[in-house]
């Protein structure tokens, strides 16, 4: 046991070394700066205690940011997981063209922010954008909206583009982990007379628990960290309808020259991230224990 303990630390030490140098210091730096009034440039800083935090809690934009985060996380996680698991199960049952589809569905992941910004802002443009042109062409004029210009739809557009880009990733994660499920489980179930959909709900989905968990936590934290899409497509607008933590941090830091406020916001964001992770972990381990008990 002693030797295995040491082995465990040995195996994680390279990652921890990187973590200590490149992550811990920046976090401490942000915590420190968050107690100062500082423009991010000057050598001297003014200690202001928790004033930056108080300002953030008084800031009406925060409500919108939290709302955007929750809405974005909810829809992207659910829809991407649903589509991902559906496609993965199509491919695991090797429908025609599985390999081709699997390759294609992942392709949007390679699109850079610059590409997305340029292409989607054209597709979604109000007057001559391809989406509205198509809607008008098939007589659905009433559906042709001012997509990115209207706060009602802007967030929806960003969610849709996120789904466009990341469904392939969810699909691949599910697919890879489905292949790890031993086929004899299914064979036994078939012998017992379980229908395919029963197998899917009773075997596949429960056995992918840790993948659901992984994708859920990545989705939640990814939504908190959402930057590229709103930054390039809407700059957080219109009127903060698509503002997220990182875009607001960016604005504070580089447009308002308020590094203290930006750092305080970073710290708050980290705390939220920790709460999310903890909550999910507790839920996950509790369920695990229930399951273990049930299995005994």
């Amino acid at each position: 046991m002693q030797r295995r303990t040491i082995a465990g630390y040995m195996f994680i030490s390279p990652l921890f070394l990187l973590f200590a140098i490149f992550i811990i210091y920046p976090i401490i730096f942000n915590i420190y700066v968050s107690f100062f009034e500082w423009n991010g440039i000057r050598p001297e800083m003014n200690f202001t205690g928790i004033e930056n935090y108080i300002n953030i809690f008084k800031d009406p934009v925060m409500v919108k940011i939290i709302r955007n985060f929750v809405v974005f996380a909810f829809f992207t996680i659910i829809i991407q997981a649903f589509l991902g698991i559906s496609f993965a199960s199509f491919f695991i049952r090797s429908i025609k063209g599985s390999d081709f589809y699997r390759t294609v569905f992942y392709i949007p992941v390679i699109a850079t922010p610059a590409i997305i910004g340029n292409i989607f802002s054209r597709i979604l443009e109000t007057n001559r954008g391809q989406l509205n042109e198509a809607l008008r062409a098939i007589g659905l004029d009433f559906l042709a909206m001012q997509w990115l210009a209207d706060p009602k739809y802007a967030l929806g557009c960003i969610i849709a583009i996120n789904i466009w880009q990341w469904t392939g990733y969810s699909m691949l994660m599910y697919y890879a982990n489905m292949l790890n499920i031993p086929s004899d489980i299914y064979e036994a179930a078939t012998v017992d007379g379980a229908r395919p959909y029963q197998q899917f709900f009773r075997i596949t989905i429960p056995l992918l628990r840790s993948t659901h968990f992984t994708l859920f936590i990545m989705g939640a934290l990814g939504s908190l960290k959402c930057f590229d899409l709103p930054y390039i497509l809407t700059k957080g607008g219109p009127n903060y309808a698509t503002e997220f933590f990182p875009t607001y941090i960016n604005k504070k830091s580089f447009e308002l020259f308020d590094q203290g406020g930006a750092s305080a916001l970073t710290v708050i964001m980290l705390v939220i991230a920790m709460i999310i992770t903890l909550a999910q972990v507790m839920l996950y381990t509790r369920n695990n224990k229930d399951k273990e008990l049930a299995e005994r």
């Binding site: 040491i6 082995a7 994680i12 490149f22 559906s86 992941v109 292949l179 078939t190 992770t277």
Partner: protein, 270 residues
């Protein structure tokens, strides 16, 4: 297992619709990269691509990008595999606490990281070298992918470990001989992801390396973008974006094949 007719039709239909959804925006980019712009006195076609190479000498940027991405992949591959294996298959005190500590590390947004990271990189004397990007990229990607790879290791049966232990293999051998090879499909997802993110990263690339000629390729489209209003039609910028994307696409197709081979191999064993 046979698929019912309704299942086949429905699934094919869904896949075709989603395929169009996936491909349309990228197809549009490809078309535009050959377009001549609005009024038709620019030439367009392959001239856009020729002009990209005429305007900017891309090769030094490609060299930097390949160095940076190669180094990052190496570090991420080794470091993440080891840590994911330990967190999944080994027991040691404070394991969970350390794991979740690492996970929160992936949460710091780049906007908040960049200034202190630059101080670190500069303190280590790495700025203006490829290493200034390799280590930050590797750290961020390793943390981001730790959860993915651990999940994959979790899916590998524990019995493998037990059996090997009884045979007298030590932990290192178990890892290198048995579990690491089995984790290759998962690792290839991780490496594809790492390749993408480190190839496309922009903010650090621009700030940690000063000389435009030494910066990674991801910075190059900016040079077109900031001037398109004045001197380049959009078609050329799209051509530049396509040029920058090509290596990713090639790597992806290659890694995808590796992954599929690994996946099917794993399935046979299971």
């Amino acid at each position: 297992m046979k698929n019912s007719r309704a299942y086949v039709i429905l699934s094919e239909l869904v896949c075709i619709v989603f395929m169009l959804f996936c491909l349309y925006p990228l197809g549009l980019m490809l078309v535009k990269s050959f377009s001549s712009g609005g009024f038709g006195n620019a030439k367009g076609g392959f001239d856009n691509y020729i002009k990209v190479f005429e305007t900017v000498d891309l090769w030094p940027n490609f060299v930097t990008s390949f160095t940076v991405v190669g180094g990052t992949l190496l570090v991420v591959g080794v470091v993440t595999s080891m840590a994911a294996f330990a967190f999944s298959k080994l027991n040691f005190p404070a394991k969970n606490v350390l794991y979740y500590l690492l996970l929160t590390g992936m949460m710091v947004p780049v906007a908040a990281l960049i200034f202190p990271l630059f101080q670190v990189v500069k303190g280590l004397g790495l700025n203006n070298t490829a290493f200034s990007l390799i280590f930050p990229y590797a750290t961020l990607n390793a943390l981001f992918n730790l959860i993915v790879l651990k999940n994959f290791f979790d899916g590998l049966p524990n019995e493998l470990m037990e059996a090997a232990h009884i045979d007298g293999a030590n932990t290192w051998r178990i890892f290198t001989r048995i579990l690491f090879p089995l984790s290759l499909p998962g690792l290839s997802i991780v490496l594809i992801q790492t390749f993408l993110l480190s190839w496309n990263e922009l903010q650090m690339a621009m700030i940690f390396i000063n000389k435009p000629a030494m910066q990674p390729i991801s910075v190059v489209p900016l040079r077109f973008m900031q001037n398109i209003g004045q001197s380049f039609p959009l078609g050329i910028m799209y051509a530049c974006l396509v040029v920058c994307l090509l290596p990713i696409a090639i790597f992806y197709l290659f890694a995808q094949r590796l992954m599929v081979r690994g996946l099917t191999a794993g399935a046979v064993k299971g």
